[in-house]
Amino acid sequence: MRILREWVLAIALYVAIILDGSFSLYLHQFMSFHNYGAACMIMPIGIILIGLFDDTNANEIWLALGTGVVADIFTLGIIGVYTVALPLLCWGSQRVARFLPETFWARLIVVLLGVSLLDIYSWIILSMVGIINVSGHVLLFSVLINLIWSLVFYVLTYWIWGGLTVNYPFLVDLDAYRQ
């Protein structure tokens, strides 16, 4: 049971990867506008919020790395997009959390900035390796649509990620501190 508690956050991120794929499938028509599309970013939002809620647990950066490898393999088939971006986002949000007010709105700004950076980074990498050929203005509009959808997913998942991170930090047994 103790091991399960320590891995709850990893299981939640696994479910988030699955939900990202399923929601992209069923909400695709609503998430795209003409040639501009948005990404379903429940899992990246989760990684940023984990970093913001718990800025002391270094294990969570390794968790972000593992999640990134799985997400890269499952969604893109190449390693180097989420594998690099997620640990950096987690590390960055842990650093920012040290001086950021612990409020819903302050964290929202960090999350929106983080998902936009992820979107731009994935555009750069995928363009560089020739998997996509998308113009700059499509990138700009897609990032804007992405911000709207990320806001929706942030509102829907903020308290879930908060509760999970505070109650079940990755590879930390809270009971050991309580006794």
Binding site: F23, A39, V84, G130
Partner: protein
């Protein structure tokens, strides 16, 4: 140089960037060249696909329910449209059977076994879609154990929607025909011109992210509404799979070659069930 080598942080960052670039380049090379992914990659894909199947079950129920309501609302107009087609159906069916029998006899007489038009079908459900903004990938619930192979054509809603790019044991990834991937295999296609001659070319994606029939010698003979099919010449797909219809004919941005815009026949936006096409004739 000496300063750089003595600065451990800078050196570590440099090494990390090099490692990332090597891993990225290696995985892209693997993706494009290998017929099946590495075992560890295949296992990871199937593990997430198994979870996707569980989540997909209730979601597809809800989505199916909403679609049923929508269908019900459109029943009257759909019924009227179908009634007008029913009269022709019996005659088309009879003609189709006669042509099939004649085709079989002719093949037998010529001692032909499988031709470019021969293929098997593998039905599959879509369980996931790439969640990022840029790539056009679907995950289906059939893999190598069901006979799915890399580069097979995939159809949905009456037309080709893409091609299999990665095959695992129990799942496979499909790259949509609208992809801008430079390394993607393009479909070799043909259409019948107004003068009865066949016009050959390939399907690409233009700057407006819509399908285009390119590398055509003379497109002026192709009228709007002309159907475009696979020609079977590319080696991976059989002949006769519907890609779409001609929407408009223009010149490319350099004014050098013809550019024919295609309205896709397949359901690219919302494919829930797909058919993987296995070509019978060897490549």
């Amino acid at each position: 140089m000496k300063k750089f080598l003595q600065n451990k942080k800078l050196l570590s960052a440099f090494l990390i960037v090099i490692i990332i670039l090597i891993v990225l380049g290696g995985s892209v090379r693997l993706r494009n060249r290998r017929n099946s992914p590495l075992i560890i990659q295949s296992f990871g894909n199937d593990l997430v696909a198994a979870g996707s199947r569980i989540v997909d079950a209730p979601l597809s129920l809800i989505s199916g329910g909403l679609n049923s309501v929508n269908d019900l609302l459109n029943t009257q107009s759909e019924n009227n449209h179908l009634k007008s087609q029913v009269t022709d159906l019996a005659q088309t069916k009879a003609r189709d059977q006669a042509l099939k029998a004649e085709n079989r006899q002719l093949k037998k007489a010529l001692e032909l076994k499988d031709t470019l038009t021969s293929y098997n079908k593998i039905n599959a459900s879509v369980i996931s879609r790439s969640s990022d903004t840029w790539s056009d990938l679907l995950v289906i619930n059939k893999g190598s154990s069901a006979g799915v192979r890399k580069n097979q054509a995939v159809m949905s809603g009456g037309g080709v929607i893409g091609r299999v790019i990665e095959v695992n044991a129990a799942s496979a990834k499909v790259e949509l025909i609208t992809t801008t991937d430079k390394s993607a295999n393009r479909f070799a296609v043909q259409a019948e011109a107004a003068n009865g001659k066949k016009v050959h070319g390939i399907i690409t994606v233009n700057s407006a992210n819509s399908l285009a029939f390119t590398q055509v010698v003379d497109s002026r003979k192709l009228k709007q509404g002309t159907k475009v099919y696979t020609s079977g010449m590319g080696g991976n797909s059989p002949k006769g799979l519907l890609i779409g219809t001609v929407a408009a004919t223009t010149r490319d941005s350099f004014g050098l070659s013809d550019l024919i815009k295609i309205n896709p026949a397949g359901d690219i936006n919302d494919p829930s069930v797909v058919t993987v096409i296995e070509r019978k004739v060897a490549n």
